[in-house]
C-alpha cells in the first residue's frame, strides 16, 4: 500500500528524518512509536506532502507521490489527521464535515467506505449529530477527535494517517477511539498509519510497530513481539 525508501527530511542543518525505510501493508494498522521529537510527526508531514523531503521516495499503491502537493493527497485516497487535530474552530461541526466530504468528489464511487454521507458520520458519532450546528471551538477534546476522524473518513480514504489521537484525552475515551479504529480496519479493510506517544494502547490494536529514535528507524517488529519484549519496551517505549 505505502512504501517509504531511504527518506530524509531536514529543516536547515537539523535532520528530522534520516534515511527511513518502512512499508505499510494494506488493511493493516502500522503504529509509529518513539519519544517526543523522534521524528514521528515529521514522518507524517513528509508523507502527506506538507514538507518536501531532501531525498528518498514515497509510493502509494505503486505510484510515486514524493513531493506531490498536499492538496492532491486526499484525491489519491490518503486522509491525514494532523498534529493538534486540525479542527477549523470558527466553522460549525457540519461545515467541518462538509469540507471532509468534499474530498470524496474524485474518489471512485465503488471504493469501500464505512462513512459515505454526513448521516453515516452522525450515526457513527451520535454526539456530532446532536451538536451539528455548534461552532467547533465549543467541542471537548474527545468530540474534536471524533469530528476530525469522521471528517477524514468522509473523504473515503484507503489510507488514514493519524497523528497522536490520544493526546489530552481521558483513558476511557482513548479506548473508545482505538476500538473504533480497530473495527473500521477489520470491517472495511482501511489501512491506518498511526503515530502515537501512548505506545501501550497503540500496540494493543496495531499489527506492526515501527520505533523511531532521532529520525532513524530503530526497530520494525510485529506488534505482538514488541508487546512482549520488555527490554525493548523499557529502552524505547517507556513502559
Amino acid at each position: 500500500m505505502l512504501t517509504i525508501t531511504d527518506l530524509t527530511t531536514s529543516y536547515g542543518p537539523v535532520r528530522a528524518l534520516d534515511s527511513v525505510d518502512m512499508t505499510v501493508e494494506a488493511g493493516r494498522i502500522t503504529a509509529v512509536l518513539g519519544a517526543n521529537g523522534a521524528g514521528k510527526t515529521s514522518l507524517l508531514r513528509t508523507v502527506s506532502g506538507l514538507v518536501r523531503p531532501s531525498s528518498g521516495t514515497i509510493t502509494l499503491d505503486g505510484t510515486d507521490i514524493t513531493g506531490a502537493p498536499v492538496e492532491s493527497m486526499v484525491h489519491r485516497g490518503m486522509a491525514h489527521v494532523p498534529e493538534g487535530r486540525g479542527v477549523i474552530a470558527e466553522l460549525t461541526v457540519e461545515e467541518n464535515l462538509r469540507l471532509g466530504a468534499r474530498g470524496a468528489a474524485k474518489r471512485p464511487s465503488d471504493a469501500p467506505a464505512p462513512v459515505r454521507t454526513l448521516d453515516d458520520a452522525y450515526q457513527l458519532f451520535p454526539v456530532l449529530g446532536d451538536r451539528r450546528s455548534a461552532q467547533a471551538h465549543t467541542l471537548s477534546g474527545g468530540e474534536r477527535q471524533m469530528l476530525v476522524i469522521a471528517r477524514a473518513l468522509l473523504a473515503r480514504p484507503t489510507l488514514l494517517l493519524l497523528d497522536e489521537p490520544s493526546l489530552g484525552l481521558a483513558p476511557r475515551i482513548v479506548a473508545q477511539i482505538f476500538d473504533l479504529i480497530r473495527t473500521l480496519v477489520a470491517d472495511s479493510g482501511l489501512t491506518v498509519l498511526l503515530v502515537e506517544q501512548n505506545a501501550r494502547s497503540a500496540l494493543s490494536i496495531a499489527h506492526t510497530g515501527v520505533v523511531l529514535n532521532l529520525g532513524k528507524v530503530v526497530v520494525t517488529e510485529s506488534a505482538e513481539v514488541l508487546r512482549n519484549d520488555t527490554a525493548l519496551r523499557h529502552s524505547y517505549l517507556g513502559f
Binding site: 502527506s48 506538507l50 502537493p69 498536499v70 492538496e71 492532491s72 493527497m73 486526499v74 484525491h75 491525514h80 494532523p82 486540525g86 479542527v87 477549523i88 474552530a89 470558527e90 466553522l91 461545515e95 462538509r98 469540507l99 471532509g100 468534499r102 474530498g103 471551538h137 471528517r151 473523504a155
Partner: protein, 296 residues
C-alpha cells in the same frame, strides 16, 4: 417647521447614499483582509481604473449596462493578476513589504490613469433619473439613481453572504481564511482561492467605483478620500466581517453628512478619524470582529 425636517431628512438620506457606497468599498477591503490579513491600499485605484474603462466605452456609445459589466469583469481580472504577479511572490515575507507593495500600486495606477485618460473632469452618466422624489411638499434627496445605488449594493451584499454561507466555494474560502494548512490537507487549493479572493474583491471594488461615479464627475484621484473612509468603515466593522463593513460604512456616511450639514464641511475628515479612535478604544477588534477569539 417642515423646512427643518426636510433638511434633516435630506442630510440623513444623503448620508445613507454616501454611506452605502463606502460600505461597498469596505466590503472589498474585508474580502481581502479575511484571506490574507492585509489591507489592499490599491483597491481604490483599481476601482478608479475600471470606472475609466467603462467611461471610455460609454463615450463610444456603448449602453450603460455593457460598460458596467466590462468594468466588473476588468476589476475581477485586474484583482487576480495583481495577486498573482505582485502579492503572491511576497507571500510569507514580512507583512510590511506587502503593505508597501499595495501602496506602490496605489500611486502607480493612479498616475497611469492620469496619463492614459487625462486629468480633466469627465461626467459619468446615470441610466436613471437624477431628480429627487417629492412627497407632499417635502423634496427628498432620494433620486432613482440613489435607489439604483442602494439596490446594487444590497444585491452585492446579499450575493456575498449567500456565497459564503450557502455555497461550497464560499465554505472553502472561509476555511482557507481561518486555517490555510488544514484546508490544504483537506484538498482545498488555497493558492487558487487567494487569487479568487483578490479577483472577487476587485469586482466588488469596481462596483463601488462605478456607483461613486454614476451621476457625477470623475478625475484620477476621485477615489482618494474613499480609500481612507473605506478603511475606517472596515475597521469599525471589524475588518473581517462583511456585515460589519456594511454597518460601518453606513454609520460613517451618516456621521460625515451630519457633521458637514450641522457643524462644518471642513471637519468631516476629523470626525471620521475621531469615530475610528472611539470604536478602536471601545472594542479593539472592531464592532463585529470575530478575531477576539484569536489575537489579531
Amino acid at each position: 417647521m417642515t423646512d427643518d425636517i426636510q433638511k434633516l431628512v435630506n442630510v440623513l438620506l444623503n448620508g445613507l447614499t454616501q454611506g452605502i457606497v463606502i460600505a461597498a468599498f469596505a466590503l472589498a477591503l474585508v474580502l481581502i483582509f479575511r484571506s490574507t490579513r492585509i489591507i489592499n491600499f490599491a483597491q481604490g485605484s483599481q476601482a478608479m481604473f475600471t470606472t475609466y474603462l467603462a467611461l471610455t466605452l460609454l463615450n463610444r456609445d456603448f449602453p450603460y449596462w455593457a460598460a458596467f459589466a466590462v468594468a466588473l469583469a476588468a476589476g475581477f481580472v485586474i484583482g487576480a493578476v495583481l495577486e498573482r504577479v505582485v502579492i503572491r511572490p511576497l507571500e510569507g515575507g514580512m507583512e510590511l513589504n506587502i503593505v508597501i507593495a499595495t501602496l506602490g500600486l496605489y500611486v502607480a495606477i493612479q498616475a497611469l490613469a492620469a496619463i492614459l485618460f487625462g486629468s480633466d473632469y469627465q461626467s459619468f452618466p446615470s441610466p436613471f433619473g437624477m431628480t429627487g422624489f417629492q412627497v407632499g411638499d417635502l423634496n427628498l434627496a432620494l433620486t432613482p439613481t440613489s435607489i439604483f445605488v442602494l439596490c446594487t449594493v444590497g444585491v452585492v451584499g446579499v450575493g456575498l453572504t449567500l456565497l459564503f454561507q450557502k455555497t461550497q466555494l464560499g465554505l472553502t474560502m472561509r476555511a482557507a481564511a481561518f486555517d490555510g494548512e488544514v484546508s490544504r490537507i483537506l484538498g482545498i487549493k488555497v493558492s487558487h482561492l487567494l487569487t479568487f479572493g483578490w479577483a472577487l474583491a476587485g469586482l466588488v471594488g469596481s462596483v463601488a467605483g462605478i456607483l461613486v461615479a454614476t451621476g457625477t464627475f470623475i478625475y484620477p484621484s476621485y477615489m482618494e478620500t474613499l480609500i481612507a473612509f473605506g478603511f475606517i468603515a472596515a475597521v469599525i466593522g471589524g475588518l473581517d466581517s462583511p456585515v460589519g463593513a456594511v454597518v460601518g460604512g453606513v454609520l460613517l456616511g451618516l456621521v460625515n453628512s451630519l457633521v458637514s450639514g450641522y457643524v462644518a464641511s471642513g471637519l468631516v475628515t476629523l470626525a471620521a478619524f475621531a469615530l475610528l479612535i472611539v470604536v478602536l478604544l471601545l472594542k479593539p477588534g472592531g464592532l463585529f470582529s470575530s478575531t477576539t477569539a484569536r489575537r489579531v
